[in-house]
């Protein structure tokens, strides 16, 4: 949350200006060098050219893809389709290349790969730049569509990529001195330096910093945004070509797991999420830092159970190393604490001063004071309705289609009951993730908060209803501490929410593995199972709980001071701070709320399945973000209503139920799912820039 900081005082000399402007990249480079030194020290023998060559090829795919992601993030966007593009290019090359033709052209197939990526980028760019839709939901839909297309091209691993490609990309540029992967990355970076110097480069940073200001000085915001996604697509395409060269064959799932670490690479490399600050050079170092961590863990022979904990810790330390400067959040927190202490000694703290009402007295014109008539409901809530209604309209359409196609929907109690039971998980997550998003953050620790909570609960309960009495509060208190840890890292250490929660997620995964020793023991108690799967007047009890929860959530966000503060922080952090909102405390509470919501879902899933399993939360991360955005919330914070998010939850669940009822192949379902989500949010287009 570097945005909390007041702008750092501008340094004087040209050298220090240069340093401060590139501080992110420089710190990443220093951390990288330190890690390289560690690898050199702990591994047997000195690093040889061969080691360097193999390290350089190991990190090249994620470095290339992360460069593309950096450009998108610099422009203020977000691209979830990157991993899917890599898979698609991989299978296109593996099916397209002829194993018999020995002299297949490296240049031709590289261009094909980059071309496929740019095409996808143009698709993203069209919806984001020209139709002004939110990047996160457009690229999420694209991700599903691409995964479907990839499986249509190749439904299982196989195929053949010409060894010529491998020989070229993994070979030496200068034998014994310079491995080819570094040259490829170097060429891309040189292209970036050229691009940065053009008007497009300047416009890119301008759009990312402030699109309105950019537009008013004559930058063609739409064109710049469109081109950013096309260029980024080209980078993912090149990454796909590289991984094809590296693996020599096709696998439709190869790129998908690269997505999250890509964001980590961007942030570790010093680029600010939200745009306008940073650059691809730092990202390249970031990608290699993340890769080196794996090697260090291997050399140290860290137990498998600890490896995610170690990775998470190293991620946090690497980012913290970057904030050891005078202007860092941590340093400012120390100075502020010292100032508070001095003030306390002098008796000058606000809490030590007598409370006097110092509010301005606004003179009231009592004569002829007609109460202004309240505007009608639809006018008062025009904005909320505009963003929340599309989800409900689409939901109605999906339900009607289900009725026509499969029958037994609208007039079938079982259908509605199943819809609400299956929605309940996301509906609860939507409050937590939604609140975090409303403040402009993102909580990536949801999956393993769910997993750890479920495993702890199942282990403690072990089939006994009596044990629920202490197991439930214990799990919820632990969740509070998880949220507290996230909040403290973000507020007091100034770590960006994505990095902090990503690291927490890894650490929690480690704890879950250690606690369960790989196989979670225990099972849900009869009462919890009844709550999730039993019947109470034709309805499952959890449906009633969900109704109560929705009322609670609407009141919490809409009618309490806490809710108002969340919106205030999301709209403008600075303004919120200056209006006297305790920003830090509110943010910490928001992350605690998110963790508690995730824990409740973990408990519910345990009841639903009868047991807990590792990784049971993994399927809920992207949907928890998607429903919030489909429900009309703004990913950068400040706008959104819980009822809209609920509409998003119901829509996505109903859509999945419709697709599950058909016997369409999985690939087709994935494509349809992506298209419907894209269509549903078409109505959420942002207003044209003035």
């Amino acid at each position: 949350m570097s945005a909390i900081s007041p702008l750092a005082a501008a340094p004087a000399g040209p050298l220090s200006r240069l340093l401060s402007r590139h501080s992110g990249a420089i710190i990443a480079a220093v951390v990288f060098a330190a890690l390289l030194l560690v690898v050199d020290l702990v591994s047997a023998g000195r690093l040889t050219y061969f080691d360097i060559s193999f390290l350089s090829s190991g990190g090249a795919t994620s470095a290339l893809a992360a460069i593309g992601q950096t450009l998108v993030i610099l422009s203020g966007g977000f691209d979830l389709s990157a991993g899917a593009v890599i898979s698609l290019v991989n299978v296109v090359l593996a099916t397209g290349m002829d194993p018999m033709a020995t002299g297949s052209s490296v240049v031709l197939w590289t261009l094909v790969g980059i071309g496929v990526g740019m095409l996808v980028g143009a698709f993203n760019g069209f919806f984001i730049a020209i139709l002004r839709m939110q990047p996160i939901v457009v690229t999420l839909s694209t991700m599903f569509i691409l995964q479907g297309i990839t499986l249509l091209v190749m439904d299982k691993p196989g195929g053949f990529v010409s060894p010529d490609l491998g020989a070229f990309y993994l070979g030496d540029a200068v034998a014994g001195w310079l491995p080819m992967p570094l040259v490829v990355i170097g060429v891309v970076l040189l292209a970036w330096f050229w691009l940065k110097g053009t008007r497009f480069g300047t416009a890119l940073y301008a759009v990312g910093s402030d699109p309105d200001a950019a537009a008013s000085v004559g930058v063609r915001v739409v064109l710049v945004r469109f081109l950013v996604y096309v260029v980024a697509g080209g980078c993912y395409g090149l990454a796909g070509v590289f991984i094809s060269a590296q693996t020599g064959s096709g696998d439709p799932l190869v790129g998908n797991p690269l997505l999250l670490s890509m964001f980590a690479a961007v942030v570790v490399g010093g680029t600010r999420l939200g745009g306008g600050q940073g650059g691809p050079v730092g990202t390249v170092f970031g990608a290699y830092i993340l890769m080196m961590v794996v090697n260090i863990l291997l050399v140290l022979n860290v137990s498998a159970y600890y490896s995610t904990i170690a990775e998470g810790t190293i991620l946090i330390l690497a980012v913290l190393a970057g904030s050891l400067s005078h202007g860092s959040v941590l340093a400012r927190q120390f100075r502020a604490a010292r100032a508070r202490l001095t003030a306390w000694r002098a008796g000058m703290l606000p809490s030590q001063i007598d409370r006097v009402d110092r509010r301005l007295r606004i003179a009231r014109d009592s004569a002829g004071d007609q109460p202004v008539p309240r505007p009608p409901f639809h006018v008062r809530n025009a904005e909320t309705l505009r963003y929340a209604l599309p989800a409900y309209i689409c939901l109605a359409v999906v339900v009607i289609v289900t009725q026509i196609w499969l029958g037994r929907a609208i007039f079938n109690v079982t259908y509605w009951n199943s819809l609400f039971v299956l929605s309940s998980f996301l509906a609860i997550l939507a409050l937590g993730q939604g609140s975090v998003i409303l403040t402009g953050g993102l909580d990536l620790s949801v999956p393993w908060t769910i997993g750890l909570s479920g495993i702890l609960l199942a282990g403690m309960v072990n089939g006994s209803d009596a044990a629920l009495a202490y197991a439930l509060p214990t799990v919820l208190v632990i969740a509070c501490f998880i949220g507290l840890a996230n909040g403290i890292g973000i507020v007091f250490l100034g770590i960006s929410p994505i990095v902090m929660t990503l690291a927490t997620n890894g650490i929690l995964q480690g704890f879950a593995l250690l606690y369960s020793q790989g196989t979670p023991a225990g099972f849900s108690s009869p009462m919890l199972r009844w709550f999730m799967t039993g019947k109470l007047f034709a309805l499952t009890p959890v449906v009633l709980f969900m109704i109560a929860f929705v009322v609670f959530a609407v009141l919490l966000l809409g009618r309490t001071a806490f809710g108002r503060r969340i919106y205030g922080i999301g709209n403008s952090l600075r303004a919120a701070q200056l209006s006297g909102i305790a920003v830090g405390r509110t943010l910490i509470l928001v992350y605690m709320l998110s963790a508690v919501c995730a824990a409740i879902v973990g408990i519910m899933l345990t009841g639903f399945s009868g047991q807990a399993s590792l990784g049971m939360g993994d399927d809920y991360l992207l949907p928890s973000i998607a429903v919030v955005v489909v429900g009309g919330a703004l990913i950068t914070g400040g706008r959104g209503h819980y009822l809209g998010m609920l509409g998003g939850v119901l829509l996505l669940t109903a859509l999945q139920m419709l697709l599950a009822g058909t016997t369409l192949p999985y690939a087709t379902r994935a494509i349809l799912y992506g298209l419907v989500v894209l269509g549903a949010v078409m109505a959420l287009r942002e207003r044209r820039l003035q």
């Binding site: 560690v38 020290l41 591994s43 047997a44 080691d51 193999f54 190991g58 499986l151 299982k156 691993p157 491998g166 991984i243 590296q246 693996t247 020599g248 064959s249 696998d251 799932l253 190869v254 797991p257 690269l258 670490s261 794996v294 863990l297 050399v299 140290l300 022979n301 860290v302 137990s303 498998a304 600890y306 490896s307 037994r408 079938n412 079982t414 259908y415 819809l419 299956l422 072990n462 089939g463 790989g518 196989t519 023991a521 225990g522 099972f523 799967t533 899933l605 639903f608 399945s609 009868g610 047991q611 399993s613 590792l614 049971m616 139920m657 599950a660 009822g661 016997t663 999985y666 690939a667």
Partner: protein
Amino acid sequence: MGIGSKARRLALLAGMAVCACGVSAAEAAEKHKIFLSMSFIGNDWQAEAANMVKAMASHKSMADKVDLQVQVAGPNAQRQIQQINAMVQAGAEAIVIFPISPTALNQVVKNACDKGVKVFAYDAEITEPCAYNVHIDQEEAGRVTAEWLVKKLDGKGNIIAVTGVPGTSVDDLRTKAAKEVLAKYPDIKIVGEAVGMWSQAVARTELSKILATRSWDDIDGLWMQVGCFTANSMQLEAGKKTSELLPCAGEGSNGGRIQMLPEGTEVEGASSPYAPLGAPRISYASPPYSGALALTLAVEALEGKDVPKKTILPLPVVTNETIKLCDEGTWAEMKAGCNAFKPSLVSNPGWFASIFSDQTPEIGLAAALVGQPEE
């Protein structure tokens, strides 16, 4: 490497506070350096397989021959490539791999083979010809289970198919083989198909979605890669009697095996739905002992014995006719034919029960549960 430099390095590491687990201080010279590269550790199957490999390595017949190091790659093939490379660098003599992708590792495996490293893949396959593979015949698994289901249904009825992870070879081979069998019977209809991701939790969510617009009465049978245990629980919740449970061809989880025992069987620690129900089932699995077996084969290969490139494991199949409860779960007891474990010993119903192999007398139930070899 001298003691002094090692101490210096350890001190450096301690100072970095990265991790408490240092480099093992004394390594016997004659021990074979073998690495295990696992995939995602976060599921029961992987954890069991890892336990069994570790138990095998610590068995008294192996302990003085093998120095085993375990690494986890997660679901990321790119990282596994990097790990294997690093293992070769670290001086591995053999690498035992659960391959995340059958093809993506080919280059790096070939590179390892060229350096004289023996590469053994367990459960899934590596298509690079220099690698040794230890796994079951996935097509046979699909075929046998589908044939059983057709026979149970007398060649007629509506079935629901729940598959594995789309885009993997294992899922593709099993599902295609099963569908080929089913296609021969025009009266068998697949009325619903869902992606189960080899997870009981996902199977429940997907079945709930399908049953929102369908009733159990319209369905005559289930073909699932994982999820029969869950499907039986759901039928009971929907008010079916145990005698009305649908025939289900599916996974070899212990919960499913216990459900296959005749209703009323005395079983220590059982509570519904993890209890004997007399459920009509065929239970098969990719056995988690394959990693341990791959390790023994790797040692044999390092000792100069001739090991075939492909070891096809017998498909462990259990039906209501062959189901038998184990008392303690020793290897000798399993050898005598038992194949299900008491819930008081195995509290997790999703735990995989196909742990017996003729060729691995070193490991029994304790190995799979906690990594403890047989005496």
